[in-house]
Structures are given as structure tokens and as C-alpha cells.
């Protein structure tokens, strides 16, 4: 790992300023993505700005039909939260399926969403549940947030403060995990809000996406069978040593079908 300067600010204003003033400043949350990439010298920031001491970024609150999760809330906190388990059990289960227990004891929702790994789990919930990402500058709708491979609508120095999840009538997440890391080879988040259904897929393309054909079919009939025959073309699916593009396309249908069946109960 290359040398860097370390900062531990107390407020988001101070953190944003430190990042802006640095030659190549990076925020650190749980460090479960940033530190491994620095160890492999894939990232070499000049300055690390730790969000750990910034007040007001942690915790879970439920008000009315919204669950709000602070950016620095760890995966283990979402996994074990009685409020999340009651309001959106699929979200608690998703958090409990990230990596392994030691990773969940450090990694945060803000870090995962900001990082936008094409195979990360949380982006599927953010998009599937039509969540809103609240930053130091604005509120960004999930449909506008994930823009490409490891790319989001976040501007340099913009910090995620919290994520607001609308509570669905029914939801489920199913993933086919990469056995070594737990990341999604393909993961499908299905959520129903009244007559509207959203289907978000992670792991298959360069970033998380919705499947309008499946959403329409599920709005007409909310069951796994309703989408069992909907196949996606594989031309823009990722292909690697673990999983070819056509296998990923196949998994999209299987995972979405399982998630829909589970959500339909």
C-alpha cells in the first residue's frame, strides 16, 4: 500500500472540504472495498478522509412508510435490526447475505452504494425499492443514481448521508452467489407496491438495472410463473471465468422467478 495522509473530521462539511483540498482525496467508511484495492495498489489516494467520527451518519429510523438508514450503518446493523426485519424483511436478509460476518461487522450501506460494484447486493435493493439517496447536496432518485460500471450520479466530494427506502407490500431478494466472495453472480430484487411492481437485477450487466417486461407481467399476475418464460438477450451481459454471458442471462430469469415466488409467499 502506498503512503497517504489520514484525516478524521467531525462533520460532513469538514470531510467534503478535506477531500476537495487534497490532491486525490478519498472517503473511507468500512474500508472493506477501499483498503483491499489499496493493498493491491489498484487505488492510491493521497489522502484518506475517515467518516467514522462524523456525527449523524449512523442508525436506522422508521417513520410511516419509510425506512431511513444512515450511510455509516453497517451491514450487521441492518441484518439484525428488529425494525428493518419487521418493515422490510427482504432488506435485512439481503444485508445478512453480504460477504461474511467479519466483513459485515465493518462494511457500510453508504460505502456499498457509493462504490456501485456491478455485483454488489445493496444496489438491487435501492433500485428495486425505489429508494432515495440523500447526499450533502441533494436527494437523488434510485433510477438516476447508478450510471455505469462503478459509476454513480455522485459528484466529487458529494457525500451520501442516508438512504430512504419506501416500505413495500411485498418484497424478496434472491442471489446466486459467487462461492468465494459471496458477491452476486446474479441477484434479483422484486418488490410490489400496491399494483406496481419493480424488478432490479444486479451482477449481470455493468450496473444494476430494471426489467420492464417482468414488471408488467408481475403487475398483471404476481407469481413466479408469470415471468418464468421471460428471457433477456445476453449481448450486454458480463462474461468472466465464473459465468458466461448466456449463463448470466439464464440466471436472471431463474433468480427473478425465485424472488417473485418468494415475495408472492
Amino acid at each position: 500500500m502506498y503512503a497517504f495522509n489520514y484525516h478524521r473530521p467531525k462533520s460532513t462539511d469538514e470531510a467534503a472540504k478535506l477531500v476537495a483540498e487534497a490532491e486525490d482525496g478519498k472517503l473511507i467508511a468500512g474500508g472493506m472495498t477501499l483498503l483491499p484495492s489499496m493493498k493491491l495498489r489498484l487505488a492510491a489516494p493521497s489522502d484518506i478522509v475517515d467518516l467514522a467520527a462524523v456525527e449523524g451518519l449512523r442508525g436506522i429510523t422508521v417513520s410511516g412508510k419509510t425506512v431511513t438508514i444512515g450511510a455509516m450503518t453497517r451491514h450487521v446493523d441492518v441484518q439484525t435490526s428488529a425494525e428493518v426485519k419487521k418493515a422490510i424483511p427482504a432488506l435485512a436478509a439481503l444485508a445478512g447475505g453480504i460477504g461474511d460476518p467479519s466483513v459485515r461487522n465493518r462494511g457500510t450501506i453508504g460505502g456499498s452504494v457509493a462504490n456501485a460494484d456491478p455485483a454488489a447486493d445493496y444496489p438491487a435493493a435501492v433500485l428495486g425499492l425505489n429508494a432515495t439517496v440523500e447526499t450533502t447536496k441533494r436527494k437523488i432518485a434510485a433510477d438516476d443514481f447508478f450510471t455505469g460500471l462503478f459509476e454513480t450520479a455522485l459528484e466529487p466530494g458529494e457525500i451520501i448521508k442516508a438512504i430512504h427506502f419506501p416500505v413495500p407490500d411485498a418484497a424478496a431478494y434472491e442471489k446466486f452467489p459467487q462461492p468465494a466472495s459471496g458477491f452476486a453472480m446474479v441477484g434479483a430484487f422484486v418488490a410490489r407496491f400496491g399494483k406496481d411492481v419493480r424488478v432490479a437485477i444486479t451482477g449481470a450487466k455493468d450496473h444494476v438495472f430494471r426489467v420492464p417486461d417482468m414488471e408488467k407481467a408481475l403487475a398483471a399476475k404476481f407469481s413466479g410463473d408469470a415471468i418464468a418464460e421471460i428471457k433477456l438477450p445476453d449481448d450486454d451481459m458480463m462474461s468472466d471465468i465464473h459465468c458466461s454471458a448466456d449463463y448470466r442471462a439464464h440466471l436472471v430469469t431463474v433468480m427473478a422467478k425465485r424472488a417473485a415466488a418468494k415475495a408472492a409467499g
Partner: protein
Amino acid sequence: MSTKVSMTVNGRKVSADVEPRTLLVQYLREHLGLTGTHVGCDTTQCGCCAIHLNGEAVKSCTILAVQCEGADVVTIEGLASPDGELHPMQKAFWEHHGLQCGFCTPGMVMVACDIARRKPDADEATIRHGLEGNICRCTGYQHIVEAVHSGIQAMNQGKR
């Protein structure tokens, strides 16, 4: 540029000037001489380096020493009693043949104690899921799972 960091390690207050890029595992092994915590990978996957940070298992290869300012750290060396009597989880690994070469063992034991804390009634499936971040290249896991199960029961019976 070095930064001063202070923390408690195995009940002892320690502080040092470290480079910010010093990983907690390097601080433990190279500054404090606590070489029971191992390094088995570069990718945060093997779990050999697991320690307890404020009572929870974390991978000490993927946290900076400076991030642990003010923290309470326990390593494998901190589990046994000062008189040398092994912790019940260590005894269980011994009794159930939960190790062969022993390289993964410190991390396995630290994570096993974390499972005991969170899930005192853990069954085999829960234990196996709980060990997902720990890789063993020798045992095939069966004896480790048995050791953890027995260790959790011993801990429940208040053998510490």
C-alpha cells in the same frame, strides 16, 4: 508523516507513532510482537487475521491501525487466562482435533467466540455460515465445526 495512535490490546494500554498506512495486523505483529494473528491472503477472504475490535470479530488485515484509535482490541494471545489456562473455545479445538497445521486456527477461534456471543444456541448450519469468512486448507472443516459447537456449549455453561 506518522500519526499517534492509542488503543487497548489484550487489556494493556498501548500507543505508538505509526504511518497511516500501517494495517492493524502489522501493528499487532511487528510493533507489539503479537504474532498469533496471521496473514493468509491479500484479498480479505481467508480470516486468519481475525481479532476482536470492541467485542466484534473483524479482519485486522483490512483496517488501519489509526482507525482503531481508542478501541479495545483482543487477539488470540488475549483469550487464555493469565495463568495459562486455555479459553473454552481453545480447549474445544484441542479436544475435537479442530486444527492440523494451525495456520487458520487463531482466526477460527476468534470468529468462533463471536458466533458464541451472537448465537449462543447456534446449530451446525449457523456455525458453518458463521465461518464463511474463514478458510482452512487442512481439516475439511468437519472437526472445526464440531469444536465450535462444543466450545459454544462450554461457554454457555459459564466456563468463561
